[in-house]
């Protein structure tokens, strides 16, 4: 393992130091990192599918996949191979080109989403996660663009197109209904998700995912607690992000998009063979990536104590453990929570999460300013509480008046 040595230089410029002057070595390292992450994503997705099936089985008191490989761990691989041998159908009424394009629009953003996630490196003692590979300093992160957080939002928005066009081009009613539902759901929760991310940006002061992790690696309150985003933002944006991310991923309890009882399979009803497999891959890959985004934004990414041995390896270990917590959480949600009704879903997104996250950003900014300007924190707190209460009352009145606009069903005598 002499390949990777933890560097000590602190990066003055923003961005991955590897890519300030790009030469053949740099390109080689980039391609290497991309290949590693690509393989990791595929394996992690396969693992996630198996993990979900196995864990759900345990929670439902049955065995689950147990024949392919030890503990059935190769079941996903077997399913994937089977998909290659299945007939690939295009419905007569489909818009052929869009129908073929849609799976690509779904899974390419899923791959791209992971590139901005820092997945390893030593962040202790001002190391900033720099490692040296073949004599070049770099981050254990595929890319560190200065707009990393915006890139995450952009890619998760692009995924809407895949589902929307898949449903529309199928020329069949269930996929169309599913895709319209999905678009409305995803854009609704994207707003709440974006606002929750802004709360993290407020506390870390940077849009680069690497800088966000570096900020969280510092010492937190009292020197005991970690300086993680979940604590910096006082918890609420984290909860909003959990709900919004679950909805964004169309996972239970927000999986109205593929509510079997109503819509057969949702937007991919007409898809078969490898085209369906690509949608399926994208869905579970997004689950893994979203867990990684959670860790990056709220749980300090790969930052953690080094117990023994090389620091960069502990970064990877901490990262994997933290991601695992969220993978478990998503499966647990599925096993526990019943599906929401569509109006409840929309009400939760628009009437609760968006106003709350907007207010929370202003609260965080006000508290920070109060500290800067030496204002009385107690007075600021009281003022914020009053503003929150007034806004909540106003919103409540609006919701009541909105409900009154629903048309009334006539009852014959």
């Amino acid at each position: 393992m002499s390949l990777l040595v933890t560097g000590s230089a602190i990066v003055a410029q923003q961005g991955d130091p590897l890519l300030f002057d790009v030469d053949l070595t740099a390109v080689g390292i980039v391609v290497g990192k991309v290949l590693v992450i690509f393989a990791f994503l595929l394996v992690a997705t396969m693992f996630m599918v198996w993990f979900e099936r196995k864990l759900i089985s345990d929670m439902q008191n049955r065995i689950g996949p147990n024949l392919a490989g030890p503990f059935g761990i190769l079941q996903t691989l077997a399913d994937g191979i089977k998909f290659f041998f299945k007939e690939d159908l295009i419905p007569d009424r489909a818009q052929r080109r869009v129908f073929i394009l849609a799976p690509f629009l779904s899974f390419v953003p899923a791959f791209l989403l992971f590139v901005v996630i820092p997945f390893g490196g030593d962040f202790n003692d001002g190391n900033a996660g720099v490692v040296t590979i073949f004599g070049r300093e770099t981050f254990l992160q595929v890319a560190d663009p200065p707009i990393g957080v915006l890139f995450i939002l952009a890619m998760s928005s692009l995924a809407v197109y895949g589902a929307m066009l898949a449903g529309w081009s199928s020329g069949s009613k269930y996929p169309l209904l599913g895709s319209v539902r999905q678009s409305a759901q995803m854009i609704s929760y994207e707003a709440a998700m974006g606002l929750a991310i802004i709360a993290v940006v407020v506390k870390t002061g940077s849009l680069s995912t690497h800088d966000i992790v570096v900020t969280q690696a510092g010492e937190g309150l009292g020197g005991i607690l970690p300086n993680w985003g979940v604590l910096l933002t006082l918890g609420v944006p984290f909860v909003i992000f959990v709900i919004a991310a679950t909805a964004e991923l169309n996972r239970p309890p927000f999986d109205l998009v593929e509510a079997e009882q109503e819509l057969v399979g949702g937007f991919h009803t007409e898809y078969s063979s490898i085209r369906f497999a690509l949608f399926f891959l994208a869905e579970f890959m997004n689950t893994v990536t979203m867990s990684a985004i959670f860790v990056t934004l709220f749980l300090g990414g790969p930052a953690g104590p080094v117990l023994f041995g090389p620091g960069w390896l502990w970064g990877i270990i901490w990262f994997a453990l933290k991601v695992f917590v969220f993978l478990f959480m998503f499966v647990w949600f599925r096993a526990t929570l019943p599906r929401l009704r569509y109006d409840q879903l929309m009400d939760l997104g628009w009437k609760v999460l968006i106003p709350l996250s907007l207010g929370w950003i202003l609260l965080l900014v006000a508290l920070d300013l109060a500290q800067d300007q030496n204002w009385n924190l107690f007075a600021v707190g009281i003022g914020a509480a009053v503003v929150f209460f007034c806004a909540a009352m106003l919103l409540r009145a609006a919701v009541r008046s909105g409900q009154a606009t629903r048309h009334t069903l006539e009852v014959p005598d």
Binding site: F38, F151, G171, I187, L394, L395, G402, T408
Partner: protein, 166 residues
């Protein structure tokens, strides 16, 4: 800085596209082609498709998309502010607070006008529509009004009522 930081994203994009293309080619070679009319018909659980897919949707879906644009633009405005808010001080906070107020006010107006009302239609007399008891012949409770007399919870009402058609 430069565009070098975006190089890995491009490499990943190419790799993902190659992966997708390879899967398609593999499927093309390996998969059988035995297409029949039944297979390429729109899937409707085994029934012949009788209707075209709907072209009209509840207007609320369109409203969601339009209101989303408002919030998306708001988010775009908030990101730069969030990154540099400590440099802007009180002035920046007041400006953003006014912006947020203007946004919230119009949001309240939309909600108050029922732009986000997805719920089922309000029923005038729910108790007249649904009888808590079961009907005589089946275990299905009487629900709804279309084509049937209002269900009342009396025993006399549950005897078969001769309809006008009969």
């Amino acid at each position: 800085m430069g565009l070098g930081q975006y190089l890995p994203i491009f490499v990943m994009l190419v790799l993902a596209l190659v992966f997708g293309a390879m899967s398609r080619v593999a499927s093309h070679i390996l998969a059988p082609r035995l297409s029949t009319v039944a297979k390429t018909d729109p899937y409707e659980c085994g029934i012949d498709a009788s209707q075209e897919p709907p072209e009209r949707f509840p207007v609320t879906f369109y409203l969601v998309a339009m209101i989303f644009i408002v919030f998306d633009i708001e988010i775009i405005f908030m990101f730069p502010y969030a990154a540099v808010f400590s440099d802007l001080g009180v002035f920046g906070f007041v400006a953003v607070a006014i912006f947020a107020f203007a946004l919230f006010e119009s949001f309240v107006y939309l909600i108050g006008n029922g732009a986000m009302e997805w719920g089922p239609a309000r029923k005038a007399k729910p108790e007249a529509l649904v009888s808590p008891e079961r009907t005589a012949a089946t275990t299905i409770r009487r629900v709804g009004t279309e084509g049937r007399p209002a269900a009342a919870a009396t025993v006399a009402d549950r005897t078969p009522v001769p309809t006008e058609a009969a």
